[in-house]
C-alpha cells in the first residue's frame, strides 16, 4: 500500500505541472524595484497597458554606450536609441538626419554641419551643437567602439547653438559616411551621471558606468529596462522628431538567446518575432517549416575569406595561391549555404559602395590549377609542405568549407591538414607572423558602406598582426595606394581608385574570396520588415531600425 502513497505524490506533481499549463496569466505588473537595471520612463512615453512589442533574439553581450558598442547587437540597440547627424540609405548613400545640411571646405579638411532645431532628448531638453561636440570628444577620448573611425579628426567645435565644425588632420572622403556612427548624447544628462573617479582624468569615468544600462539619446526608442544577460527593453519615444511607420512597435525587446531549441520554441509560440542571425542552416530549415515563419536572406557588408599567409611556404608563392584559387569548388561551397548566397567578386562584398563589378572572378578549373601549380617553386616538393587550414571552432558551419578545400586540393596533389581552432587561439595565432597558419577561414564585416575601409582593414600593413589579416602582405606600395584612395574627396575618383586596388589584389591572390555573406533571420510573417525588401542599409544594426518595422498581427 505504501507504494500507492508515493505514486500519489508523483500524480500530484504531474497535476501541478498540468495546472501550470492551464493557469491563465493573471499577474499584473508590480511596483518597479529599486534595481539599477530598471530605468524610470520620462514624460512623452505611451502608458497604454496593451502595447505592441517587437521581440528580437540577439547574442549577448550588448553595449548601449555609444563609446563602447560596435558589434551587431550593440549597433542594433544604438541606432534605435540615438540619432546621428546623417543616416545611411539602402543604396550606400547618406541623407540628412540631425544635420539638415553641411558644407565642405575647398581643401576638404573642414566640414560644417547645420543642425535641425527643436530636436528633444528623451528627458525633454533640446539637442544642440554642444551635445554633438561632447559626444565626439567623448568617443574619441574613450577610443573604444567606433572611436577608431575618428582618429584623423583633429577637433570638433561649436559655431553657434545649431552649427558644428569638424576639422580633420588630413582630407578623407570617409569622414562624412563615418558620421553614421557618431551617436549624439545628452551632455547635461551624462555629466550629471558621471562618476568623479575614473580612467579619464578630469572627465572621471565619462559616464561609462551609468551608460552601461541607461541611454541619453534622442532616438525613436528609449531604454526602460535592461536585465544583463537576459533582455533589453526599449519603449517608443513619442517626442521623437522623425516618423514612425503605421503599426511600428510600441516596445522593442532584445532577448539574449541564440540556442537553437530555445529559438524554435519561442518562434513557434510567437514569443520571438525575429531570430538572431547565427542559426545554423539545419536550424533555419527547421524554423522555415513552422507555420507563419519565413527566412529572410539579407545581403550584408560581410565576406567569407580563406586568408592565406603570404610569408610561409607554399602559400608565399603566388602560383601556388592561384592554383588553389582555381582548384577550389566555389559552386559546391555556395550550394552548402543558404539559397541566395553569391560567390564573392573580389576582395570586398558587392554591396559596398566602390565595389568593382568587373574584377576577375576565379572559378573551378583544374587544368589551369595544374598549370599554375607547375609554375610554383614548390611544385616538385609540394608533398613536404602540407597546407594547414584552420577554421573557427565556434562557427561549426565553417568546417564543411575547410573539408571541401581539403578534398579539392587533393585533386591537384596539394596535401591539406584541417584544424578546428577556438577563436581565442585564432586571435592569438594571427597576432604574430611566425604563428599565423597557412590559411584561416574568417568572416570579415565592413563598418562603413564603402570598399575603402574594408580594403584597409584587410590588406593594409596597419591591420597585420590582427585577426582581420592573416595574409601579412606588408606591401608599402599597396599601403600608399589604399591611403591615397581613402583621402580622395571626390567620390567618383575615390571609387575608381578602389576599383583599381581590387583588381591588383585579385592578381595578387592573397585570399580565396569565397562568398558574400547573407544574413539569415527567421521572422514572423506578420512582421513587415523593410530589410527583407532591400529597403534598409546593410550597415551593421540598421536592419533592426524599429520605426520602419511594422507589426500587423
Amino acid at each position: 500500500m505504501k507504494s500507492f502513497k508515493y505514486l500519489s505524490m508523483l500524480l500530484v506533481l504531474m497535476l501541478l505541472l498540468t495546472a501550470c499549463g492551464q493557469a491563465k496569466e493573471t499577474a499584473s505588473p508590480v511596483a518597479a524595484p529599486p534595481d539599477t537595471t530598471t530605468v524610470e520612463v520620462p514624460a512623452g512615453t505611451e502608458t497604454s497597458a496593451d502595447k505592441s512589442q517587437l521581440q528580437v533574439a540577439y547574442s549577448w553581450p550588448v553595449y548601449i554606450d555609444p563609446a563602447v558598442g560596435s558589434d551587431e547587437a550593440s549597433s542594433s540597440a544604438l541606432v534605435n536609441m540615438y540619432d546621428t547627424l546623417i543616416f545611411p540609405t539602402s543604396d550606400g548613400n547618406v541623407i540628412p538626419w540631425l544635420a539638415e545640411s553641411w558644407e565642405t571646405s575647398d581643401d576638404g579638411l573642414t566640414l560644417i554641419f547645420h543642425l535641425r532645431q527643436g530636436v528633444q532628448f528623451h528627458d525633454g531638453s533640446e539637442l544642440q551643437a554642444s551635445d554633438v561636440v561632447y559626444s565626439f570628444n567623448r568617443l574619441k577620448t574613450i577610443g573604444e567602439g567606433y572611436g577608431y573611425l575618428y582618429t584623423s579628426v583633429a577637433s570638433a567645435t561649436t559655431v553657434d547653438d545649431y552649427t558644428v565644425e569638424f576639422i580633420q588632420n588630413e582630407a578623407s572622403g570617409l569622414f562624412l559616411p563615418s558620421l553614421v556612427r557618431l551617436f549624439i548624447l545628452n551632455e547635461d544628462l551624462v555629466r550629471a551621471n558621471t562618476a568623479a573617479e575614473g580612467a579619464y582624468g578630469e572627465a572621471g569615468d565619462y559616464g561609462k558606468t551609468w551608460l552601461l544600462i541607461n541611454d541619453a539619446g534622442s532616438g525613436p526608442y528609449q531604454v526602460t529596462e535592461f536585465q544583463l544577460e537576459e533582455y533589453l527593453l526599449m519603449e517608443k519615444y513619442t517626442g521623437w522628431w522623425g516618423e514612425f511607420v503605421e503599426n511600428a512597435p510600441d516596445q522593442v525587446r532584445f532577448v539574449a538567446t541564440t540556442e537553437a531549441a530555445t529559438i524554435r520554441t519561442l518562434m513557434s509560440s510567437g514569443e520571438i518575432d525575429i531570430s538572431d542571425a547565427w542559426q545554423s542552416i539545419e536550424s533555419l530549415e527547421n524554423l522555415d517549416e513552422l507555420d507563419g515563419v519565413s527566412i529572410a536572406a539579407l545581403p550584408t557588408f560581410s565576406e567569407f575569406y580563406f586568408m592565406m599567409n603570404t610569408r610561409i611556404p607554399p602559400t608565399d608563392d603566388i602560383n601556388c595561391r592561384r592554383a588553389m584559387a582555381y582548384a577550389f569548388d566555389y559552386d559546391t561551397a555556395i550550394s552548402l549555404e543558404w539559397p541566395g548566397t553569391q560567390q564573392s567578386k573580389g576582395p570586398v562584398p558587392a554591396a559596398l559602395g566602390g565595389h568593382n563589378p568587373d574584377v576577375f572572378v576565379f572559378s573551378r578549373d583544374l587544368a589551369k590549377a595544374a598549370e599554375e601549380l607547375a609554375q610554383c617553386q614548390y611544385a616538385d616538393s609540394i608533398a613536404v609542405y602540407p597546407v594547414q587550414i584552420h577554421w573557427v571552432s565556434e562557427v561549426p558551419d565553417e568546417e564543411k568549407f575547410a573539408l571541401l578545400f581539403q578534398a579539392n586540393m587533393a585533386e591537384i596533389g596539394i596535401p591539406v591538414e584541417v584544424f578546428s581552432t577556438p577563436w581565442l587561439s585564432v586571435v592569438e595565432n594571427t597576432g604574430a607572423q611566425e604563428t599565423s597558419p597557412h590559411i584561416v577561414t574568417i568572416y570579415v564585416s565592413a563598418d562603413l558602406p564603402e570598399a575603402g575601409p574594408m580594403l584597409k582593414q584587410r590588406y593594409h600593413s596597419s591591420s597585420a598582426a590582427t585577426w582581420s589579416q592573416n595574409e601579412w602582405l606588408l606591401d608599402e606600395t599597396l599601403d600608399a595606394a589604399i591611403d591615397d584612395a581613402l583621402s580622395t574627396i571626390d567620390t567618383t575618383e575615390r571609387f575608381a581608385k578602389y576599383a583599381e586596388l581590387q583588381s591588383q589584389l585579385v592578381d595578387l591572390s592573397p585570399s580565396l574570396f569565397v562568398y558574400d555573406q547573407v544574413q539569415k533571420n527567421a521572422y514572423q510573417d506578420y512582421i513587415d520588415w523593410p530589410a527583407v525588401r532591400g529597403e534598409t542599409s546593410a550597415l551593421l544594426g540598421y536592419f533592426y531600425f524599429a520605426p520602419e518595422i511594422s507589426i500587423n498581427k
Binding site: Y6, P29, L228, E259, S425, V427
Partner: protein
C-alpha cells in the same frame, strides 16, 4: 560537532580557497589571447589597449599581478569585468542569486525524488517497482542535464505549451523589490502570489533538468544503503519485537541510510551550481554559471577568478554543512570528531 572541529575546518578552507585562487589566476592567464584586445576589438587604437592593460596591471609579472588581485579581493573588489564592463563584485551580487535559487529548487527536487525512489526501491527490492526505478536511474545518471533541458523545453513549452520557455518572469511582469535576489522568495516576501506563481513556473524546467542526474544517482545510493542496512541485526531485532514495518523503515532504517545520500547531496548541490551553464543558456536564465562560461570564452580574467572562487566558497560551506548534518545523523561521527579532531 565541536567548535574546535568547525574552527579547524574553516582554517583549512581558507588555505583551500587561497590555493584555488592561485591555480585559477594562473590558468586564466595561460589561455591564449590578449583579453584587452579581445574586449575592445581588433580595430581599437593600440593606446586604448595599452592604457587598459596598464590599468589592469597586465604588464606586471604574474606574482605582482596576483598580489594586486589578492589585495583588492580581500577588500571585496574583484576588478572590472571585460564583458559587462562593470565591477565583477556587482555582477556576482546580481547573478549569484539566480543560480542559487535554481540550485535550491534543484536540491529540493533531488532530495524529494531521491528519497522517494530510493525508499520504494529498497522496500520493493528486485520487484517491478525497483526495476523500473533502476532503469530510470541509469538513464538519469548517464544523460547530461542539458539534454534533459532540451527534452523538457520541447515537450512542456514547444509541444504542450504548459510552461514558459525562458527567463525568470513573463514578459510584462516586473521583478519584485530585491531582498534575496531570488525571485520566488522576494515575491513571497511582499506577498505577491501572482509574481511568485509566474516565477515558480519559470523555474520548474531548469530546476528539474538540473536535478535529474543527482536525483537518479542519490536514489541508487539511498536504495543501496537501505538495502544494506536491512540485513543488519538491529532491524531483525526490531521486526522480531513486533515493531511495525513503517516504523522500522522510518525510525531505524532511514536515518542511518541517509548518511551517504546526504554526503553526496552536498557535493551535487555545489557541483550543480557550477555545471548549470548549459541549462542556464537554454532557458536564458541570468545566472552566475552562464556568466562564468561567457567570462571564460571571452578571457575575462577578473570574472573567471571571481566566479570560480565564489563556487569554491559555496563548495566549502556546503561541505561543512554536510559534515554537521552527517554528525547529527550519526552520533559516532559526531563523537569521533569531538575527540580526535
Amino acid at each position: 560537532m565541536s567548535v574546535i572541529f568547525l574552527a579547524k575546518r574553516l582554517v583549512h578552507s581558507v588555505f583551500v580557497l587561497l590555493g584555488l585562487s592561485i591555480v585559477i589566476f594562473l590558468i586564466a592567464r595561460i589561455v591564449p589571447g590578449d583579453p584587452v584586445r579581445l574586449a575592445v576589438g581588433a580595430r581599437a587604437p593600440q593606446w586604448v589597449v595599452d592604457n587598459m592593460r596598464e590599468h589592469m596591471h597586465l604588464n606586471e609579472p604574474l606574482h605582482i599581478q596576483y598580489g594586486y588581485w589578492l589585495r583588492d579581493a580581500l577588500q571585496g573588489d574583484f576588478g572590472i569585468s571585460l564583458v559587462t564592463r562593470r565591477g565583477v563584485a556587482k555582477d556576482i551580487r546580481e547573478f549569484l542569486p539566480a543560480t542559487f535559487e535554481l540550485a535550491l529548487y534543484s536540491l529540493f527536487i533531488s532530495v524529494t525524488g531521491a528519497l522517494s525512489f530510493g525508499i520504494i526501491s529498497a522496500r520493493y527490492k528486485d520487484r517491478w517497482a525497483d526495476n523500473v526505478i533502476r532503469i530510470f536511474s541509469y538513464l538519469g545518471v548517464v544523460t547530461p542535464s542539458f539534454v534533459f533541458a532540451i527534452i523538457f523545453l520541447l515537450i512542456f513549452a514547444f509541444v504542450l505549451d504548459w510552461l514558459p520557455a525562458i527567463g525568470r518572469l513573463s514578459n510584462g511582469l516586473t521583478l519584485p523589490p530585491r531582498v534575496t535576489g531570488m525571485v520566488t522568495i522576494d515575491a513571497l516576501l511582499i506577498g505577491d502570489f501572482n509574481v511568485f506563481w509566474d516565477a515558480f513556473k519559470h523555474i520548474i524546467m531548469p530546476a528539474l533538468s538540473l536535478a535529474m542526474g543527482s536525483m537518479a544517482q542519490e536514489a541508487r545510493i539511498t536504495r543501496a544503503s537501505m538495502a544494506d542496512n536491512l540485513t543488519k541485526d538491529y532491524i531483525a531485532s526490531a521486526r522480531a519485537l513486533g515493531v511495525s514495518e513503517s516504523l522500522v523503515m522510518r525510525r531505524f532504517l532511514l536515518k542511518p541510510s541517509l548518511i551517504p545520500t546526504v554526503s553526496i547531496l552536498g557535493l551535487d548541490f555545489a557541483a550543480g551550481m557550477g555545471n548549470a551553464f548549459l541549462v542556464e543558456l537554454i532557458f536564458n536564465w541570468p545566472g552566475l554559471s552562464r556568466y562564468g562560461m561567457n567570462a571564460m570564452l571571452s578571457k575575462d580574467l577578473n570574472a573567471i577568478s571571481a566566479v570560480i572562487l565564489t563556487f569554491g566558497v559555496v563548495f566549502v560551506v556546503v561541505n561543512i554543512c554536510v559534515d554537521i548534518v552527517v554528525g547529527q545523523l550519526d552520533p559516532r561521527i559526531r563523537l569521533s570528531t569531538a575527540k580526535g579532531d
